[in-house]
Symmetry: C2
Subunit: 354 residues, 2 copies
């Protein structure tokens, strides 16, 4: 039996009093955005998703107003991307500190505006409130052809596992920003993979964005599909080059860039081997380089090469860690390093025993 993910259990409990809409195509946990059939025709569905940027501001992970505005759009747009939807726009509720300065606010709005332009979409409206701290909630709306939407469900053993782009920058950024606040940080400006999400409709068997980190995403896909994932031996080649360099400088083992919870907002998706050539043709056409990082396997676990052998990762432990350490960044890192030490230890034992 898999260990329980505390967040899933909590969400399940929170949602338990709610009835499900008969117009909703996805069940809970099954899609990055909610999919609705509001019209008289069943050909076109609405995708909607809501996300607040609040903890990242409270911890200081995001402190630049332009970046905060940018992220308040991107987190929701990335959810739309993971369903293959085309955005219609976003409504944003801004809770501002009462003493918010005009120049700060201007940068915030510019970040929102620039992010919308980068996604080819629009701010449709919003709400403004005043309180002690800053927080932004974006709700993105999109359309998706019903028969071609992407979901988290549908991959099978034998399918190939892809990422839309280099991995690990979210966590490298977080490590810099929170652990070395006085040093210059590497940049962090994720761009929702909307065009890529649309390109893999009809090709991807399952898809999910990496907003909570790569291993958390694989853990969730594993639970939903009753399968496992095995990362390729050369998984390190899928790391973002600057992120890997940053981790090296800070003495952080590279695989923790996939393990920690601050994601890079890429998409992870699976495809049947027979469809790989079609994927590559589409990708070539649009100048996009998908990264093959592993495959879907029967055994429900996430496995990857670490220190010369295959490690079966306790991804539930990884996902539950942020809550277990009370969201203390130093305790979080030291717990992850402890985990890494255990894996190395096991490996040494294996070597000794053979």
């Amino acid at each position: 039996m898999m260990n329980e993910i505390r967040e899933n259990a909590m969400l399940q409990k929170l949602a338990s009093p709610f009835h499900r809409s008969p117009l909703q195509l996805n069940r809970m946990h099954e899609s990055d955005a909610e999919i609705l059939l509001p019209g008289v025709t069943t050909e076109s569905a609405i995708a909607i998703t809501i996300d607040s940027v609040v903890e990242e501001i409270a911890t200081g992970l995001y402190d630049d107003p332009w970046q905060i505005g940018w992220m308040s759009v991107m987190v929701s747009m990335s959810d739309l991307a993971a369903t293959g939807a085309t955005p219609i726009g976003i409504v944003i509720s801004e809770v501002l500190p009462a003493d918010c300065q005009a120049a700060y606010l201007e940068e915030l709005q510019k970040g929102i505006s620039d992010a919308c332009a980068a996604c080819g979409t629009y701010v449709l409206g919003g709400d403004t409130n005043f309180a002690h701290g800053l927080s932004l909630t974006g709700c993105a709306l999109g359309t998706v052809a019903t028969g071609r939407r992407l979901s988290r469900i549908g991959c099978h053993p034998g399918d190939l596992l892809y990422a839309t782009g280099p991995l690990g920058r979210g966590n490298a950024y977080a490590a810099c920003k929170l652990l070395q606040p006085r040093s210059p940080s590497i940049g962090y400006r994720p761009l929702a993979r909307l065009a890529e999400g649309r390109a893999i409709r009809g090709i991807a068997t399952a898809c999910m964005d990496t907003s909570d980190g790569v291993l958390a995403t694989l853990d969730q896909l594993m639970r939903l599909n009753g399968v496992g994932f095995s990362l390729d031996e050369n998984w390190e080649s899928a790391l973002d080059v600057e992120a890997a360099e940053q981790a090296r400088k800070m003495g952080i083992p590279p695989w923790l860039l996939l393990a920690a919870e601050h994601g890079e907002f890429e998409l992870l998706f699976t495809t049947a081997p027979a469809d790989e050539s079609r994927l590559m043709a589409h990708a070539l056409e649009m100048g996009w380089q998908p990264l093959r990082i592993g495959r879907v396997v029967h055994a429900p676990a996430v496995r990857m090469y670490l220190y010369g052998e295959i490690a079966r990762l306790d991804t539930a432990r990884i996902r539950n860690l942020p809550r277990a350490v009370g969201r203390d960044i130093r305790r979080y890192l030291s717990s992850l390093l402890e985990f890494d030490a255990e894996i190395r230890q096991n490996h040494d034992n294996t070597l000794t025993n053979t």
Copy 2:
């Protein structure tokens, strides 16, 4: 020239960097919910609106978790009602205090669930974060036939002014709750006027909900339509009976129940006199009693009978007051009472002069 409404000016400034979607039917300020044409057909539009409940929690105006959950749904549903839309559902982002108790959370979710059931709609999904204070943001989605949507724009001098139900309960509740926190408060559980909003499609020339109070709503409709409003001499008969009684007990002049900023979530709408009988026939059929409270006039001002004569109200002053007093409830009330004293004074002067 009308005095500037600081909130409108701020919203205008906040939105200035944003481009408008070509799919959006309404312009800024013109609709309680944003109206989009996402589909291939132009017959059916999507209505979307986002609202945060945060200041009301911070001030203690809402402190019961069931009520907070209920309101987080109703404020957005009321916006949909004001466009004549039928709700599809709502997505809710909950920012919870880290030490939130299970029983509290259960009541919060029950309030959300009960409000959705009361509106015949559903929670579609959400997001959960943890921070210091509690805040909830709901984004409601609906559909509306393009040619039959309600908007804030379109009333003409001569049109009749209606409310969907009794007025003033929001402010009577706020006065009790914030000024006499130890006494039992009158109840406050507004129900979005969705059926009424749908019933007046094709009849109402303009419509807006009273989320910010009756006079603020009239002020906004006045600015948007370049008209004025004259309340009927018997406007007090449209007051909620318990609200009026509560105001009397507290020594608050009844008209301040229309002036203060905590609304009752009724709809105010206008209709051509020729359509009044059609309105009444619809209303009778559904067992609803619309309240006629005034009419649309040429002169751009809000006028009502106060102390035996017609007062022309400075509604800009009323709307700007909450910010001017720094959201201090006692200063807010004493400023409103000062305003009332000035009106009575003017009246006495008029009497003396004649």
